[in-house]
């Protein structure tokens, strides 16, 4: 790799950000009633587990956590590139009337979030959907914004932001590649 890499956040920093997001979610929603977390595969699903863990530490009691794979809802499926492998959507609870916290690692164009919201709607009618992301790097192409942000990182479109995870799906660091 010749690309220049800068570490934006380390493991401890990510954990502090997730803890703060957990507090903000609880504050905004006045507790855990009707809250469910749904992470977008793959990074967002791992982070959703981390936020859920923090919430249960703070409030006691577990919040339901699901994972959504957006492959079948992508807006770039009509091309003739090989289609992406399809991951498993795993939402083992009803979304009807719930406050869904959608979790992703990096918010960029907003297209992934659009796809994820369409997927969630096919599972029922949530009371609301709120968006939590670890990194917001800008360059939105759709009218979408996050409710909870770990860190805002101004980037150029040539750069790439990656959240790295270890073998047990714990976040290690956030890397900016130039």
């Amino acid at each position: 790799m010749t690309a220049e890499q800068t570490v934006l956040m380390d493991g401890a920093g990510i954990k502090r950000a997730l803890t703060r997001i957990a507090h903000e979610i609880l504050e905004r929603n006045k507790g855990v009633a009707d809250i469910v977390l749904v992470g977008i595969r793959s990074g967002g699903a791992f982070l959703a587990d981390g936020i859920a863990q923090q919430i249960s530490v703070i409030e006691g009691g577990a919040v339901p956590v699901g994972a959504v794979d957006i492959t079948l809802y992508r807006d770039d499926c009509s091309g003739h590139l090989p289609h992406h492998p399809v991951g498993k959507t795993d939402i083992p609870f009803s979304l009807e009337g719930k406050k869904v916290i959608l979790v992703d690692d990096v918010l960029y164009t907003g297209r992934t979030i659009r796809a994820a919201m369409d997927a969630l709607m096919d599972f029922g009618r949530p009371q609301s959907i709120q968006l939590a992301v670890l990194i917001d790097r800008g360059h939105r192409e759709l009218p979408i914004r996050a409710d909870f942000v770990g860190r805002n990182v101004p980037t150029s479109q040539k750069e790439n932001v990656q959240v790295a995870f270890d073998g047990s799906n714990q976040p290690i660091e956030v890397v900016l590649e130039k």
Binding site: D69, L72, Y73, C77, H80, H83, V86, K88, D118, D122
Partner: protein, 310 residues
């Protein structure tokens, strides 16, 4: 990352182990869609699929139609009784006429082995084989593999007995291709008039002299339908005698592993290939096969749409 680069799926022979595993894994992940309240995803919105069935079919045609609809494609069915084939139109002409209506995928069943390769060379849309003569039936092969994987979690190292009319069975051929590529051992048994010579050359395939030999310690017992429409009258004396030597019953199933899976591609001739108690018993996976058929066909439609022209 695995990529599926084929524009057509005509035979499992043409696919690699990785291709087959990718299709199975996609089917596993798509399967939940069929159990939701809203059984539809927008993936193939705007695509048109023509189901062109020159031979009778209930399961496969319905399954392909549902699969297409669950992916939001528009599906059109054409059956021989109401197509121009009855007025003497050739396959190539029918296909070119259909192509003029800009389908993205043609799913075809045809009595002539290899007719799909002929079409694939002529047309620029994707071709999926829903059964061609005595050649292959890849969607059935894939759904059988998925069903075995559901039960055992793997295909590697399984002993699979396939019993019946191997010669005329496209299901057997697709299963042999798929199973041997994924590491299973295949044991074939059937009347000598119904076992093609040289079939051992396809891979880890053993031709058994008796049905009992094939059943011994099998993890999976796959019974094939006697295809009276395809074979001449000389291949077997009568159904009763066939059933005595090559029918599955509560006695000979005991030779297989305890609780071995019993599979059949359907339609079943009850009392010929297997007794009703076997079809409806606890060991039967026949309806699970049908259920898996929809997910497997969704996976096939999804991946050929992303394939490249070869």
């Amino acid at each position: 990352m695995a990529e599926f680069k084929h524009k057509h799926i005509i035979a499992l022979r043409d696919l690699t182990k990785d291709d087959i595993e990718l299709l199975i894994s996609t089917a596993e992940n798509m399967r939940d869609i069929n159990c939701r309240d809203i059984k539809k995803v927008p993936t193939l919105r705007g695509k048109t699929i023509i189901n062109l069935f020159y031979e009778a079919s209930t399961r496969t045609r319905t399954s392909f139609e549902i699969a297409g609809k669950r992916l939001s494609a528009d599906t059109v069915n054409i059956a021989p009784s109401n197509s121009s084939a009855t007025k003497g139109e050739t396959l190539a002409d029918t296909a070119l006429n259909l192509l003029a209506m800009k389908p993205d995928i043609i799913v075809m069943r045809h009595a002539v082995s290899g007719s799909h390769y002929f079409l694939a060379n002529k047309l620029n849309c994707s071709i999926i084989n829903a059964g061609d003569g005595a050649h292959e039936h890849p969607s059935q092969g894939l759904l059988d593999l998925l069903t075995m994987k559901d039960r055992y979690g793997r295909l590697d190292g399984l002993k699979v007995a396939i019993v019946g009319d191997i010669t005329h069975s496209r299901v057997a051929r697709s299963n042999i291709q798929g199973l041997t590529k994924l590491g299973s051992s295949v044991y074939l048994a059937g009347p000598p008039t119904m076992v093609p010579p040289g079939v051992e050359k396809l891979g880890d395939v053993t031709v058994c002299a008796t049905m009992n030999e094939a059943l011994q310690d099998a993890d999976v017992v796959m019974m094939l339908r006697i295809q009276q429409e395809r074979q001449g009258k000389t291949l077997m004396p009568n159904a009763r005698e066939y059933s005595r030597y090559f029918g599955l019953n509560p006695t000979n199933i005991k030779l297989a592993k305890p609780n071995a899976m019993i599979m059949h591609p359907g339609p079943i001739n009850r009392g010929v290939e297997m007794s009703s108690s076997m079809v409806d018993g606890d060991q039967s996976w026949v309806l699970k096969q049908v259920e898996n058929g929809v997910a497997v066909r969704m996976a096939m439609l999804y991946h050929v749409c992303g394939g490249e022209l070869e």
